[in-house]
Symmetry: C2
Amino acid sequence: MILGMDQVVDFIHINRDRYVEELKQYLAIPSVSALPQHKADVRRCAEWTADELRRIGLQNVKLIDTPGNPVVYGDWLCASDAPTLLFYGHYDVQPVDPLDQWISPPFEATVRDGEIYARGAADDKGQVFMHIKAIEAYLKQTGGLPLNIKLLIEGEEEVGSTHLDEFVRTHKAKLATDVVVVSDSPMFDRGVPSICYGLRGLTYFQIDVRGSKTDLHSGSFGGALANPAFILARVLAQMKDRGGRVKIPGFYDDVRPLSEAERAEWKKLPFNETRYRKELGAPRLFGETGYSTLERVWARPTFEVNGLLSGFTGDGAKTVLPATAMAKVSMRLVPDQNPDTIAELFETYLKKICPKSVELTITRMHGGNPWMTEFDNQYVRAAGRAIERGFGQVPVFNREGGSIPVVSTFQQELGVPSVLFGIGLPDENAHAPNENLDLGNFHNGIVASSYLYREIASLTETA
Amino acid sequence: MILGMDQVVDFIHINRDRYVEELKQYLAIPSVSALPQHKADVRRCAEWTADELRRIGLQNVKLIDTPGNPVVYGDWLCASDAPTLLFYGHYDVQPVDPLDQWISPPFEATVRDGEIYARGAADDKGQVFMHIKAIEAYLKQTGGLPLNIKLLIEGEEEVGSTHLDEFVRTHKAKLATDVVVVSDSPMFDRGVPSICYGLRGLTYFQIDVRGSKTDLHSGSFGGALANPAFILARVLAQMKDRGGRVKIPGFYDDVRPLSEAERAEWKKLPFNETRYRKELGAPRLFGETGYSTLERVWARPTFEVNGLLSGFTGDGAKTVLPATAMAKVSMRLVPDQNPDTIAELFETYLKKICPKSVELTITRMHGGNPWMTEFDNQYVRAAGRAIERGFGQVPVFNREGGSIPVVSTFQQELGVPSVLFGIGLPDENAHAPNENLDLGNFHNGIVASSYLYREIASLTETA
């Protein structure tokens, strides 16, 4: 055991019940960033977070205003010659609709069968609090930390981190670090702790197609002019072939091939396709020919239709020839695809295949870079050892199909790697009713976090 | 001039202004059948219609209750040995939304530049009133009518004539006639009076496609299972080829080819493609290869998408992989296609092309037969002569792209032909704000209607 860690871990074990009670207080604040009526609650939650950082002994704690919700900042920079870790998390939460599907009230945290149920339990207050408690234990028991730490806890993650890129750009010096740790993602599966080393990127569009000035009677005019809903269907159908491969010319040019080593690693993962399919309620799994399900989601780009709207959508039948049709579409990207390059390729192709019988409008909504760190990066390996200490199990190394754009921002603006050190579970309903967090994972995560600081500190000590 | 017609036509000319004032009263009753809050207005309008029929001298006038709104019935059956004409029209009107686009209030009829503006002016109170005034003139001036006449004026045309088929079936004896006259359609163009001798039929469906139990995150799951919105787009795209031809196997088997004679007649019609395109605000006209615009709309079947709905359709971007996608689709049919046969062909094809990675549900909504009468039917020719008398112009003979299912019902249940004797104009906003009726056409239509009775009466006199 690393020097001093036994007292830290003992303290964490002894305080197990207190942590749950304190977490309940944190979860009681309805810091819903998407809803204006919770504006004051969001600020109250930022203040609660800051007070807690002060209480455990962090320094320079403050709320830093942005054009939106404040960022909570705090640090402890007394470990001279040791490396610096920047922790990123968020104190805001998703809305709770539909409220009637919650078994217990979303802002009265309730423990059932070893899970704590409340909005924000997994995403992300529980994971933020895990680090706060690990730091507290360390400071309390050893009088210091083995490395320098900075905490950046934002209040707009659930509304797209609107002001965070700008915040990072204008606070580069304040945020300077050796590594970023993000705890805002699930582990691979229950009982299978993991370190995530790759995320997909994104480019998102709205497509509007117009065929006439106004909606027309489909009897009086049907046959005389193009139907924009049909044209939209036809151009969307031309985006992928029957094997699930995207047909946009050049789309795959920059895709980094999946190495045989990586494919071999993923084949070893305890992934049950039948259970996965049943949980999703899908008649069949389907994806790009030549790849497994995990490969399709983690390492291959996609084209998805996210929304469709045209003409009459109510009950019954209305014989309208719609004037317009709209689709929301997005592409998930993998290294080394660039969102801007892909956006250009998509727009060029769409303009080419869309007939002149309709007016086409393409709106580029937003994008984000794919991200991947080296599999055997020293920080990733340090995090792996910390997880092993906390969970008693060697973690698996996985990628994620989703996007966390801020990870790319840290890479670009601060020039440092990130470690995705998440202890949620895939079925903890992060954006749905009955969000919950496994208290065993929460507790093991506090232990693992305290080891993480120690492991990262050791890197430079031995480097 | 036919015996007695000069007094009838003189009376019509003299009373021109009174007709407009009376029509304004009729148009003041907001008989909106689609809106429950107008239930009492709808009944009041039925009573107003019945009172008017009694006032002009019709007999057996009554409201006949249906499970919905009452039918107004009246007759005059004193012309022994003369033929019988059944007139069909409706006293209910469309809703007025969006109200703020009306230049004058929809239920305060206002005359501007020779047009009377109000909801129901063209569709259909103005055209019903045209017949009422023609009958009044005839009875007043000659003490009788040259033929037997029955009026069936319904109150649910704008909500799909829900109870009319059943009404016709259960009142076959009461409605027995030699010919049906329907005045509820536009003429070919301003200054181009017409007789419509063909209508398209219809078969309408809702298609629902499900890919998973719930909406999923398009990052975490995109690539692993079929996207129902994409699948829906792909199956819709397979319904028509690039030349606008429907790809459902067997779809064209029963289509009666357009005769060279009919094509030649239509080529002579004063139809301006550029003006038509500009009025619709379409970038280009587009339709089935090998046919003109009029041929495409009047004599060729179509496949149209009437509505699309899936996933996220609000402002902004939401990275959802939708659980479901829905389309409303319909096919316009021409003689001798049968809606049930086509529905079977469509369902078989759709099931065949839809992949097993989604659950497909097909809902058959409603259908109607196409209808076409003989071009040189004696009643059509009689109507042509009446139009010539009223409008001073030989009418053109046209078909319509839309459907009036009740015309097929009369054919099937009463075994008699219908004559579509419409005096609206294509640009009179029948279902839109600022509905209007040209008062010149209204006046000429009253004269033409009085001649119509005389012309049909003469058929048997000379037969």
